[in-house]
């Protein structure tokens, strides 16, 4: 029972990552892609956290801290770029 729920959790996160990836690819506009990439990294962090909980393996918890901070820096960098670039594209 518990094991089934854990696998279901990881499967749902995989689908969520796929949906975010599709948004990055299809875009719509450049901020859409940035938002999609931001969400994708967040789903990735959720997946690593869920994996650490399911396997009770704490190796990747430090990675999680770094990923969270790097995604913030990356999002701000790209958003600044979009802002500078101004209209179109």
């Amino acid at each position: 029972m518990t094991e089934t729920i854990e696998y279901l959790t990881l499967a749902l996160l995989a689908v969520a990552g796929l949906l975010a990836l599709v948004r990055v690819g299809r875009g719509g506009s450049l901020p859409d892609k940035v938002l999609g990439a931001d969400t994708l990294i967040l789903v990735l962090a959720s997946g690593v956290a869920a994996g650490a909980g399911v396997t009770e393996d704490t190796t990747f918890l430090d990675v999680l801290v770094v990923v969270t901070l790097l995604s913030f820096a990356g999002t701000i960098t790209v958003a600044r770029y979009v802002e500078r670039r101004g209209a179109r594209a």
């Binding site: 959790t9 749902l12 859409d32 938002l35 931001d38 962090a45 959720s46 869920a50 909980g53 101004g86």
Partner: protein
Amino acid sequence: MNGGAGMALISALVMLLGAVFTLLATVGLHRFDDVFARMHAAGKASTLGLLLILLGAGRRLTEPGDALKLGVIGVLAVITIPAGVHVIARAAWLRVLGSPRTPPSSTYSSW
């Protein structure tokens, strides 16, 4: 108060709830029409999802230091995710309008 099948089940259920919220956030990325509606779904639901997953994972880890690490990640996420989405919103807003002072109605509808 450590371990036990019931506790593992509860933590798995909390993590499942978090995964459902994360999935709904990415579904929102596709169901909404423009950036501002999409970041409403992606920014809030996925933060809640991550926090629930961290909570569920924290129940499973036995070392106090690991749970503390998860808490640090949660605090960082609560601070950085809304800030990041806000910066995206600002960039998109300025891109649509050209300047923050222009009234939005004319450009926004055709965007």
